[in-house]
């Protein structure tokens, strides 16, 4: 789960990481009052779960309470990159002397955590990583041992001399935040040295491990504050993984790898996937019905492909699920069903016996992909 900047900064403050004074505003008026309280001017920052705010007009330096109100009103009404915006963060204006970048993240290639820092903040950090990787200092943190002092000294070693001690302290605390919040990423971009010498976190990006939310009740509560697509919410209720895409072939299968592979085959057959939908191990009528309902709620869908490989899941159960589901929901969208593996023949016979209009069966995954892609084009 990705936190908003202001939520991440609250974690920072709990652990003693310095941040500028900030006030969350949910309207233009609130932003005006926030700016007044912060001394007249403020940086107004859109609160969203994506990056690229600076380049996307999501950060505005307001010189007066009126400017802050106007910026906030625009952000709240326009949204940001297609997602609704419910709040902005107004922060005191600070005098930035140097910008750095630092982060601690899970490194999946080693199964440990990786701390990174560079004195060259402000520029495109990914470009820097690509062109001059040595400009970013890195240290692997063994979760059994924590961060060693020598690692902190190495990491901070290229920063201006007077910024090193405070940066080391901040890195140590970032690791504390990562541990305490079950984080997989804590990033500060930029970490700034101010004109008066203080080093502060001007931004926060915190990603929390979804698998650990059961033991993070305070963070789990924040979930309710994020906007969620109603279709995805409905899928989630039934434990289905649904991601909307921009094509017109609805795709459902069991298992993420198999669904990904199905998307690829539909694309190879000239079709455009409308979604990714992993029904997991479920095969009952209600799971299949919810899956179909979720896919068909997307008006762009012109054909549907159900691709099941039976292992523990039995294809005859899936077939009964489809028959029942189509008794519950009305649709004119043509459907291709491909069943293979455990009890596949029986499953196909059940579908044939039910002689459902608009439902065809395919013998192989490739046939299914081709048929669904063709149907979507005929309907176009």
């Amino acid at each position: 789960m990705d936190l908003y900047e202001h939520q991440g900064k609250e974690l920072f403050r709990d652990h003693g990481i310095p941040t500028p004074r900030g006030i969350v505003a949910r309207s233009g008026d609130e932003a005006r009052r926030a700016a007044e309280e912060l001394g007249g001017g403020a940086v107004v920052k859109v609160q969203v779960q994506t990056g690229g705010r600076g380049k996307g007009g999501g950060i505005v330096v307001a010189r007066s309470p009126d400017e802050a109100a106007a910026a906030a009103e625009r952000m709240l009404s326009e949204g940001f990159k297609g997602t609704p915006v419910t709040r902005v963060l107004c922060e005191e204006l600070v005098d930035v002397a140097h910008e750095f970048y630092c982060a601690i993240t899970l490194d999946r290639s080693t199964g440990t955590f990786l701390a990174m820092i560079t004195a060259e903040g402000g520029m495109d950090i990914e470009q820097l990583a690509d062109e001059r990787p040595d400009a970013i200092r890195r240290a692997h943190v063994d979760p059994m041992l924590g961060v060693h002092g020598y690692q902190l000294r190495w990491l901070a070693g290229t920063l201006p001399a007077e910024a090193r001690e405070p940066a080391m302290e901040i890195l140590r605390k970032i690791y504390e935040v990562l541990r305490a919040a079950d984080g997989t990423l804590v990033e500060v971009n930029p970490l700034a040295q101010l004109g008066d010498g203080r080093v502060v976190a001007l931004d926060s990006k915190v990603t929390v491990d979804d698998s650990a939310l059961y033991r993070q009740p305070e963070i789990a509560k924040l979930r309710a504050e994020f906007p969620i697509d109603p279709t995805e919410a409905k899928a989630k209720e039934k434990d289905l993984q649904y991601v909307k895409l921009d094509g017109d072939v609805g795709i459902m299968g069991n298992g993420a790898g198999l669904v990904m592979s199905t998307l690829d085959l539909v694309a190879q057959a000239g079709g455009r996937p409308a979604n990714f939908l992993d029904a997991g191990g479920g095969s009952g009528a209600d799971v299949i019905a919810t899956g179909l309902e979720v896919m068909l709620s997307d008006p762009a869908v012109r054909s549907v492909l159900v691709n099941i490989f039976g292992g523990i899941t039995r294809c005859d159960e899936v077939a009964r699920g489809i028959v029942q589901a189509l008794g519950m929901i009305e649709t004119t969208v043509p459907m291709v069903v491909r069943l293979d593996g455990t009890n596949a023949e029986e499953g196909r016979r059940i579908l044939a016996d039910a002689s459902l209009s608009g439902v065809e069966t395919a013998d192989t995954m490739w046939d299914g992909a081709r048929m669904a892609a063709d149907l979507s084009k005929q309907a176009a």
């Binding site: 490194d107 990423l185 990033e187 971009n189 990904m260 039976g310 292992g311 490739w366």
Partner: protein
Amino acid sequence: MSVLIDRSTRVVVQGLTGEQGRFHGLRNRAYGTEVVAGVTPGKGGQDVEGIPVFDTVMEAVHETQANTSLVFVPARFAAESIYEAADASIDLIVCITEGIPVHDMAPVASYLRGSPSLLIGPNCPGLISPGKSNVGIIPGEICTPGPVGLVSRSGTLTYQIVHELTTGGLGQSTCIGIGGDPVHGLGFIEALERFEADPDTHLVVLIGEIGGDDEEKAAAFIADRMSTPVVGYVAGFTAPPGKRMGHAGAIITGSRGTAQAKAEAFEKVGVKVGRTPAEVAELAAAALPS
């Protein structure tokens, strides 16, 4: 032969008395696997259809000489079960459980680096040496003995490709599902090493997917160290790009991680990559030394 498990494999199921543990433990036994013990704290002395249950793995090993553990323990207790199996000198720990927190698994991975125990998973389907032993949830009936070794990050996609191999007349030495979690035990390279050393594995099928750079590293290993031919598959060419928060992930992996980059990495070292699961079986049949 086969790798990692065979007829000498003796399995203790951690969580045997739970719904999943019982179902799959008995299924593995019905396949012919020596399922010799179960462990559920507080249920020592009971049995599950004749399989004795112990309170600890230590006792199970002492009484039954189990050398392999199969973990079905719920996510919040699973990490401790892995430590317990390692401390009881279990050779191979296969963890099926999904949803174990990263901050639980990272110390486990660190601990196991200094241990002779080998972990497969978590969040994986387990492994099978057809005709000999099945440890996990891979449906035994889709497999058949033969010369192809298979290693995969996926579950049902693995079954699909095994099914294509079997119906194409290509049996398997061992099929290993290493799981898709960010912190996991056995990786592609460790699996490839074992297949390379196995005289009865004549070809390896490697099934990857988007994310991370395990496939790129596997490609480099294949180029340097493998004489056994390898055929690849990568899922996720059309997968939606994940919403990314910070830059840290990209700093680590750079342009690696996309399906395109992975397929190119394989092809660059002479590993043919099937465009469909069916094509993987065709390429495997063509590449299999006669």
